[in-house]
Structures are given as C-alpha cells and as structure tokens.
C-alpha cells in the first residue's frame, strides 16, 4: 500500500512548523500565534481522511509508508495505522487545535516558544501512534518527554521544578527497561530474519518462551504503567498536573496517558500473550484498585486539578481492565464472547477520556485565569456570575460521572458488561464508579459552581469570552456526539480488535 506520505505529513508538518514558529521570535508573537493555529488546523484537516478513508473491517495496517532508516540496525522508518492508532491520532490533532486556541492569550511570556512546544509535541505524539518500527517508536516515545518537560518547567506553577523532575524521572526510568526489552526482541528476531528486525509486526510473530515473555512483559509493564498511570506508580501525575499550565494538563491527560494504554494493546498483549494470561490478575487487580482506591482519594482532594488528575487515573483503570479481560472470560466461560467488548470499551474510554478530561482541565483553566486559584474553597456560586460557563462545566462533570448520552458512558458501560463475563466481582467493583465518580465530581461542582456567591473574587468573575466558548462548545458537541452515536468509531476499530483478540489469546508456547 504505497501512500503519498500521509502520515509523514502529519508527523513532520507540526514538528517543522513548530520550529518555524520558534524562529519567528518573540517580536512576531502575533504572527506566531496565527501560524501555530494554521499549522494545527491543517494537521487536523489532514487527519480527517485518515478516519474517513480507513477500512474498519480490515485488520491490516493502512496508510503504510516504509523506508530504510538505520540500515546498520535494520531499523525502518515505517509508519502506518490500524483501528487502534488511527482514532488516537485524530484525537491528537483535534485536541492540539483546541489547545492552541485555548492558549491564545493565556501565555504572555515566550509566546512563540509556547506554541512551538505544543506543535512539536503534536508531531511526536502522532509519531508514537503511527510508528510500525519499535526503534522509531522508542525515539518518538522518549522525544515526546522533552517538550512536555519544557511546557511544565517553563510555563508551570510555583513548584514546577519539583514536578518536572518527578515527571521526567518516573517516565524516563519506566522507559529504560522497555528499551532493553525491545533490543532483546530485536536480537531474537535475528534467528528468523537475516539481520533481525525492529518491526513491531515481527515482534508479534516472534516465538518466545514463558520466562522470556514474563520478563518482557514486566519490562514493558513498567513503562506503560507509569504512563497510564497505574497504582502505585501514579503519584507523579497529580503533581505534574497541578504545576502544568492548562494546555499542558490537557495534552498530558488527553493524549500522553493514552500512550500507556496504547502500549499494552500494541506491545504487551500480542507480544507476550502467555505472560499476559499468566499475569492478568496483576493488571486487573491494579485496575480495580485504580477504580475504587483512587476514586476515594479523589473524594478527598481540595485542589480542582488534583481532583481531576485522580479522576483520570480512575478512568484509565477502565482502559487497563477492559484490555486484559479476555483471559478470565476464557477461563470462566470457555469462550471469548465479551473479550472484544472489553477491548472496544478500553478504546472508547481512551478517546472519551481524552475529550472529557481535556474539557475538565480547560474549565479549571478558565477559572484559574480569572482568580488564580485552583482551590475548591476559593470558589462557590460561580454560576451566579458565569452561567454559560457553569452550563458547560456541569455538562462535562456529568460526562465525567459517566452519564449515558455522553461519551463517558460508552466505554465504562462496555467494560462493565465485559467484566461481568469474566467475574461478577470485577463488574461489581468496576460499577462502583457510578457512585464514586458521581460523588467526587458532583461534590466538586456543588462546592465550586452552585451556592451563593462566596467571595468578592467570585463576584467579579466575567463569563466566557468568544474564544473560550468556542473551545468548550466544540468539546461539548464532541462529547455528546460520541455518546449518542458511537457506532462509527467502533466500526473503524472492528477488524483490528478482532485481530487483537486472536493474537492475545493465541499461545506462543506451542511452537517451542
């Protein structure tokens, strides 16, 4: 499938565009803003055909490009998308546009650098999702840390240095073992292919013994678990979110966390299916801890951003839970009915959480820009002064609480139903999110949005301006559209998910 560099365009346009914006310099900040918006818009528009022209029935990689890259290592510059990566790429380009618009006047220092960082970030994130070559994947994966590191470190809050270092160390240490695993697998492929290969597809086909699989699984687990993040390696996230500027929080929650979930689907499950089967209790256990424990922790938060950060961890628990259900379903029922539903749910949850958490962080950003506080207690009765904003905030809060008709419901529903196929108690614990999710989200809404005007700061609040209205409005429409009619998204993923169920349940041990 020769394709005219569609994916390369999506990777390199933002990166090169970002560099160009950077070169404009601070004196041409206004031009930089518009250029950044134009680049983000072009990238988004260019990503739409990815969705429309994608054949959901097929499990094959599409829009494939392949060129030799580092010939000495047999590493290719290979890009392509399937039903798992394509929606995530569209989500990335979509949210970048919104982040650029949302950050229009928020930043006053180093304006062009700010936008450049987000554009470069966009290109690298698309690169992560589109890479078919493990080494290329790893390069994008690590490079992505740099702009995020800078975004938090330069435009962040008072404790930004602490948060950045914590963020960097966590994620970097997590990925080091992944590199080891990737290199190990490359060496193993040399037995099959002349010179070996970094192709992820080759890794999928690689026969591996149980011990090897377990070691690879654990090495990858650390990298992905930190990103998701899963309990107990999640403590970097609340700190990073609190210190990050609004745009950084949006990208962090909406896209970067998805890399962890994506990693499990792309690497762990198909590469180490037997180890996944053996260790699924670990992932499921940690996922359920995320849903219950983290939701309770969210209830105790007094900082809005921390609360949403913890809520993100809880919601990502559904992603990892849904991804690993197949084995227990097979053990419980002897069949695979429900396995694909769990994966569908995990995917929809990722997309939906991207929209909702992004929207929630933007809402906090709107208030922070006005009052410069994230403390719940600094607010109260915001609805009296900002009725339009309050309407958006309540909508997103309800979506966060998984209201049917919003995207937040779809993924949770599918995962709960699928987990019932595996074990009644999984479903029961997962379903507590209906109560706990509503409790922490709506309790915050009660204290922040409703009630009489709490103080002079709130009394002086002005409602949304046109730019903020546009961003939140677009997100609101997306959240509702995905909630009312999720079928098109699931259609696109159908073939890939079927294939994944097949790969993750196909033992690699038989051939040895």
């Amino acid at each position: 499938m020769g394709n005219f560099g569609h994916l390369s365009f999506l990777v390199w346009l933002p990166i090169l565009g970002g560099v160009a914006v950077l070169l404009l310099g601070e004196r041409r900040a206004a031009m930089g803003r518009w250029a950044a918006l134009a680049i983000a818009l072009v990238a988004f528009v260019a990503s739409v055909p990815l969705f429309c022209d994608f054949d959901g029935a097929s499990a094959a990689m599409q829009f494939v490009e392949r060129m030799p890259w580092i010939t000495a290592l047999n590493a290719d510059y290979a890009l392509g998308v399937d039903g798992i990566s394509m929606p995530l790429i569209v989500l990335t380009t979509f949210l970048t546009v919104l982040v650029v618009i949302a950050g229009w006047t928020v930043t006053e220092k180093r304006v062009t650098q700010y936008f450049a960082a987000f554009l470069i970030m966009e290109g690298l994130m698309v690169g992560v999702f589109a890479s078919l070559d493990a080494l290329l994947f790893y390069v994008f994966w690590e490079a992505m840390l740099i702009p995020m590191f800078i975004i938090i470190g330069v435009w962040g809050g008072p404790r930004r240095v602490y948060a950045t270092i914590k963020f960097f160390l966590y994620t970097f240490l997590g990925s080091v073992l992944m590199l080891v695993a990737l290199i190990y697998m490359f060496i193993q492929t040399q037995a099959i292919l002349p010179g070996g290969s970094y192709s992820i597809a080759a890794f999928h086909a690689l026969p591996l013994g149980m011990t090897e699989q377990v070691l690879i699984f654990l090495a990858l687990l650390l990298a992905f678990a930190v990103k998701v993040p899963m309990w107990p390696v999640h403590t970097w996230l609340p700190d990073a979110h609190v210190e990050a500027p609004t745009g950084g929080s949006v990208i962090l929650a909406a896209i970067m966390l998805k890399m962890g979930g994506y990693g499990f689907l792309r690497f762990s499950l198909p590469i180490a299916p037997d180890a996944s089967r053996e260790l699924d209790w670990l992932i499921i256990g940690l996922s359920l801890i995320a849903v219950v424990y983290i939701s309770l922790v969210a209830l105790a938060q007094q900082d809005m951003k921390k609360l949403i950060a913890y809520s993100s961890i809880a919601h990502m628990g559904f992603v990892t839970l849904g991804a690993f259900l197949a084995y227990d379903i097979q053990a419980n029922t002897g069949a695979l009915a429900g396995a694909a539903m769990g994966l569908d749910g995990a995917m929809v949850q990722m997309i939906s959480h991207g929209l909702i958490s992004g929207a929630m962080f933007l809402c906090v950003g709107v208030m922070y820009d006005r009052l410069h506080s994230r403390e719940i207690s600094a607010y109260g009765g915001v609805v009296n002064r900002m009725p339009i904003f309050a309407a958006f905030m309540v909508l997103f809060a309800l979506a966060n609480a998984g209201l049917p008709g919003t995207s937040g419901f779809v993924g949770e529903f599918l995962v709960i139903v699928a987990s019932f196929h595996a074990n009644f108690w999984y479903a029961l614990l997962a379903a507590t999110t209906l109560i706990l999710g509503a409790a922490y989200t709506l309790w915050m809404v009660k204290r922040v949005i409703f009630g009489p005007v709490a103080n002079d700061g709130v009394a002086a609040l002005k409602d949304l301006n046109g730019r903020e209205f546009l961003v939140l409005g677009v997100l609101a429409v997306s959240v509702l559209a995905l909630g009312v009619y999720p079928a098109p998204l699931l259609e696109k993923m159908h073939g890939t998910i079927e294939q994944l169920v097949h790969l993750m349940t196909l033992s690699k041990l038989g051939g040895l």
Binding site: V161, G405, L434, I435
Partner: protein, 664 residues
C-alpha cells in the same frame, strides 16, 4: 403505527427544550412558554392518537429500531421504540401531567428570573421520560433512566443559591446512583446470559435461563434469574424511592412545586414500577426476587406513611404520601399483579399531581410559606383550590367510586390472594396503610383549609414579604393558569378508575406487555369475582379497607378540628414514637453522620497514608531525596539555558532523522 408519529412525540419536547434553553434570551418569557407548552400539548395529542390506534383500531404493537447505537463483539445495541398498550398508557399519562404542569408553571414561576431555564428543563424531562417508557431495549431504558435523574438533579437544585437545595440535589443524584449501580450490574448480567439487550430477545430466553446458576460466592449457587432481577430491582428502588433508598425524595421538595408534581409524584418516581412491569417476563421466574419486591414495597408503604403524620410542611406531607403510594405499587408488582400496579400508577399520577399543584397554589397564596401550622381556614378564600384538593384527597384515601378506590382496593385484594412468600406481611402493611393514609391526608386538609386562620399573626409578625406581589390583607384564589390544571387533573382523579378498571386490569389490555405465570395469576383469580364497577363498590363494604379509611378521616377530624389539643397529648404519651418519626427513623442521621464522613475519611486516609506517606514517602523516598538534590542544582542553572538546550536536542534529532532518511 407510523414511526414518524412516535419520533415526533419524542422530538417535540426535546426541540422545545433546546430552544427555550439555548435561545431563551431571544425568544423571551412568552416565547419560552408558548413553544414548550404547545410542543408538550402536541405530544399529548399524538400520544392519545397512538393509544387510540392500539386500543380501538387494533393496530399491532410497534417495535422497531431507529438507529444502531453501536455494535460490539457481535452484539448490536440499537435505539428504538417499543410501543404497546403499556407504553402508550404511560405516554398519555406522562404527556398529560406534563402539559398540566407546563401550564401551571406559567403562573407559579411568573416572577422567577430562571423562567426560560425552567421551561427548558421540564420539557427536557418530558423527552427523557418518553425515551424511558418507549425504549425497546435495556440500554435505552437506562439512558432515559439516567436522563430523568439528571433533569431531576438540575430541577431540585433549580434555586442554586439555596444551600438546602444544592444539598438535596446532590443527595438525590447519589442515592439514585446507588440504585443505578445495581441496575447496570443487572444489565451486564442480562447481556452475559442472553447476549442481547433487546427486550424481545431477552424475554424469549427467560424460560431457558431459569435453570442457570451463578456462584457469586464460591460454592453457593444462586439462580441467575434471581441475581438479574434483584440487581434490576435495586435500580427500581433508587428511582422509585423504596426503603432504604427513599431518603432523597422528601428532600427533593426543595425544588419548585411544579416539578414536585411532575417528577417526584406523577412520572419519574414511577419509572421503577414501570420497569418492574416491563420486566415481568423475567421477575416471574424468580420467587426470591418477587418476595423481595413484596417485602420492600410493603415496608415502604406502611412505614413511610407514618412519617407523614408528624410533618408540618405541606409539600413534605404529600411527599411522604408519595413514598407510601409507591410502596403500594411495588407491592402490587411483587404480588404479580403488575397490571394493578400500573393502574394504581396511573390513578396516582392524576390525584397526586393534583394534590401537589393544589399545595403549590396554597403556597402561592401564603407567599411561599409551607408550614401548615401557619395556615388554616383557607377554604373560603380559595374555593377552587379547596374543592379540587379535596377531590384529590378523597381519591387518595380510596373513597368508593373515586379513581384511587378502584386501584387501591384491587391492589389490596390482589395481595390478599397472593401466595408469594411475604404476602401476609404485605397484606397487613397495605391494609393498615389505608388508615395511615386517610389520617395524614385529612390532617393536611383540616390543618390547611379548616379551623382558625393562623396566617394573620404570621403576616403581622413577618412585617412584609420580600416577593413584592401586593400583600394587602387576605389570601386569594390563584390565577386561572394555576387553577385550570387543578380542574383538568381533578376530572381523571375522580372518574378514570370507574371507566378503566375493567379493560385495564381485568381485560386483555396488558396481555402482550405483561406476562404472569399461572401460579402467580392473582389478577385472574380476582377476575372471577368481577361483576362491574358498581358491584366492586358494593363489595368494598365487606372488606376492612373502607372502614379503616373512614376511621382515619374521623380520627383526623377529631384531632385537628374537634379537639385540637389532642395531638399534643398524644405526642406527650408517645414521645419515643414521635421522636423516631420526626427523625425519619434515623436514616438521614446514619447517612450523614456515619456513611458520608466515613467515606470521606477513608479517601483522606488513602491519600495521606497510601499515596503520600507510603508510596511517595517510603517507596520513592530514596529517589525523592535525590530528586530534591538534583532540583537544587537545576535551580542554579538559568532555566533559559536548559530550555534552549532541550530545544536544540529536538532540532538535532529531527535533523539527524531527516539526514538518515535522505541518505537512504
């Protein structure tokens, strides 16, 4: 039946809600109420048309999908309508009450700044409720279920500056979510056992499912059907406010009165009853679940009624009455008399909406005073409100000939005939409940409309009222937009039982919607003794219910008209009982003083102890210290340099990548 008619019925209120909500500023107050009232009015007329087509013209049941919501794992989940007589009856009741409430709101909310928003919400509610009753699958049922919950949340908190209102709406939502937690597990179980969410497909598999078991606890096999039904019933308990999930309903009275009538009396709270009736093909296969339904319903019917005896807030008395009546409907379903449950739902919707709106009319006249101790003697100032309210009260207590009589007497007879475990207990509960109902209802009537006028001193003490609509002296009858809905509702409250009991309960009305196994067929048994409404009234003289109701009215008259010092004496004698009732059996105390603080402190402990102390403090301790050390060094480096350096890295990386690409 035409799908475009059904779609119109659903979409009209939705579009009206969107227009009033999003463009309220442009269309103005009059625009908002004209659009929403005519949309809901049209939906009512079309619903009547649908009912007529089913009942009179005999068109077949409508069951079609509108669109596919999603396909996952081979399971096609659709959004579609199932309109049989059960649904059509609900549609007519919902749209009729909703229309009355819309008209009433024009008067009740006329000075409120959130006028358009209110109309938007109640129209949105009508849409959600229609989606709920018209669903042909579990998912859409759940969608409507949660959507009505959200609108209820928004409406209870309509006056969002009142702390009590925003406390009540959060409480209502969370308690409902506990119910929904059970509901969604029930739905998950349904998918697991049947591989479908479509009513038709699920129900057709019910007989096959009967023998299947599930081991929730290792080594203890449970009937799968019992598990499904109990989970679904927990959902119904939340929405229909059955003990112990009833605690949100009295507090929901913080919302404006029109919504108390529409949502918290006539329609939303009856969704649980509707669900039980709709799920009858499943519940019939689980004796255990039916017993649970019976016992929970009976307990609710009797014990929540008692709380109505000691409350002085006119709306809350009606709210406790609603709780108790919802218990009655639940009992009917538990006794497998689903048709009677729905029949009582319908009659109750009319007379309870009437009572609420009448209470609202009194509240307007009293300048938003809700305490009955500060009313009295209002009958001569508000004749229309008084007479319509009295008719509603007579219907509620089951006066022979009134609509409530037919439904309640049939219900009690059915419970009497039932053999399901717990039926005897339920029978005594509902029977004694008749006395309690009559007592609290007429206590309310007498305290509000009879006796000395107690509001004069209140007004004098109060000085002036802050609502500014001409205080000048005596209370007066409400404007026509307020009393017209009372009259409209009074008509069916009196008459509908007489005309519909025969076809609805004893006829073939629900034959396609509700299925009852032969062993449970109490209604069939009652039908043998059915000789028309007149004979049914005559038969009442042989039962206990009639005398208990009369005794209740008489007691109320003695205590609140003839010897007004009696209540205090009774209270002194039965201090402990009074205290128990005033404190609402300590449910609220338990939830607010034990459950809520406990949950919060668990969260706090996990955060401080688990996240911060154990994970960050202990496990990451070593690295954290080195992080601090590195941070100390980094702080000395100008951030500009660090940042330029990092950018250089990216640019270098891109250049390297590009070069390698070009080279190859």
């Amino acid at each position: 039946m035409d799908s475009s008619i059904l779609l119109t019925i659903v979409l009209l209120p939705l579009i009206a809600a969107a227009m009033a909500g999003l463009f309220g500023r442009f269309i103005g107050r009059a625009g908002a109420h004209w659009i929403t009232c005519s949309a809901v009015g049209a939906a009512f007329l079309l619903s009547c048309l649908a009912l007529k087509q089913l009942v009179v013209d005999g068109v077949p049941v409508f069951n079609e999908a509108l669109y596919t919501w999603l396909v996952s794992d081979g399971i096609r989940i659709e959004v579609g309508f199932l309109v049989d007589k059960l649904t059509a009856l609900m549609m007519v009741v919902v749209t009729f009450v909703s229309f009355c409430v819309h008209v009433y709101t024009i008067g009740y909310m006329k000075d409120d700044p959130g006028y358009q928003r209110f109309f938007s919400y109640i129209s949105l509610f009508t849409f959600s409720m229609l989606m709920l009753v018209m669903a042909n699958n579990f998912l859409q049922l759940f969608f409507g279920w949660e959507a009505v919950g959200v609108v209820s949340y928004l409406l209870i908190g309509f006056w969002y500056t009142r702390p009590s209102a925003i406390f009540a709406n959060l409480k209502a939502f969370l308690v409902n979510r506990i119910g929904d937690f059970g509901f969604i597990l029930g739905i998950a179980a349904v998918v697991y056992y049947t591989g479908s969410l479509d009513y038709g497909q699920v129900f057709s598999q019910a007989p096959v499912l009967e023998g299947r078991t599930i081991e929730v606890f290792e080594g203890v096999p449970w009937s799968a059907m019992t598990l499904i039904c109990i989970c679904l019933f927990i959902g119904a308990m939340g929405k229909s406010a059955q003990m112990p999930l009833h605690v949100w309903l009295p507090d929901s009275m913080e919302g404006p009165t029109p919504i108390s009538a529409l949502i918290h009396a006539a329609t939303m709270v009856t969704a649980g009853i509707f669900m039980l009736a709709r799920m009858s093909p499943l519940f019939e296969y689980s004796e255990t679940a039916l017993s649970m339904v019976l016992i929970v319903g009976a307990t609710t019917a009797f014990f929540t009624g008692l709380m109505g005896l000691v409350n002085n807030d006119i709306k809350r008395v009606v709210a406790y009455s609603t709780l108790s009546q919802l218990g009655y409907m639940t009992v009917a379903c538990g006794a497998s008399a689903y048709g009677i449950g729905i029949f009582h739902l319908m009659t109750h919707a009319f007379f309870k909406a009437l009572l609420f709106l009448a209470a609202g009319s009194v509240i307007i006249a009293m300048h938003h005073q809700q305490d009955m101790r500060k009313m009295g003697g209002l009958r001569k100032y508000m004749p229309i409100t008084y007479w319509t309210c009295l008719l509603g009260a007579l219907a509620l207590i089951g006066t022979p000939g009134f609509s409530g009589f037919f439904s309640k007497d049939a219900l009690i007879e059915a419970v009497h005939a039932s053999d399901t475990a717990g039926a005897t207990y339920a029978y005594y509960c509902v029977l004694l409940g008749v006395f309690v109902t009559a007592l609290y209802t007429f206590r309310m009537i007498f305290m509000t409309f009879h006796g000395p006028e107690r509001f004069a001193d209140e007004a004098a003490a109060h000085g002036h009222d802050d609502h500014g609509h001409g205080h000048g002296g005596k209370p007066h009858e409400s404007p026509w937009v307020v009393w017209l809905p009372l009259v409209l509702l009074a008509i069916p409250s009196v008459l509908i039982g007489w005309f519909t009991i025969e076809p609805v309960v004893f006829g073939e009305f629900f034959s396609t919607a509700i299925s009852v196994t032969e062993a449970h067929d109490v209604v069939g048994e009652l039908a043998h003794h059915w000789h028309g409404p007149l004979a049914f009234i005559a038969h009442a003289a042989q039962g206990w219910a009639l005398y208990l109701a009369a005794a209740g009215v008489a007691t109320a008259w003695l205590m609140y008209v003839k010897y007004p010092h009696w209540p205090a004496a009774v209270q002194a004698r039965l201090g402990w009982a009074h205290k128990l009732l005033v404190n609402k059996y300590y449910f609220d105390w338990f939830n607010e003083k034990i459950i809520a603080p406990l949950t919060r402190s668990v969260g706090w402990t996990l955060w401080k102890g688990g996240d911060q102390l154990l994970i960050d403090g202990l496990l990451v301790n070593g690295s954290a210290r080195s992080v601090g050390w590195i941070a100390g060094i980094v702080r000395h480096v100008q951030s500009g340099y660090l940042y330029h350096y990092a950018f250089a890295m990216i640019i270098g990386l891109s250049a390297l990548l590009a070069w390698l690409l070009l080279r190859s």
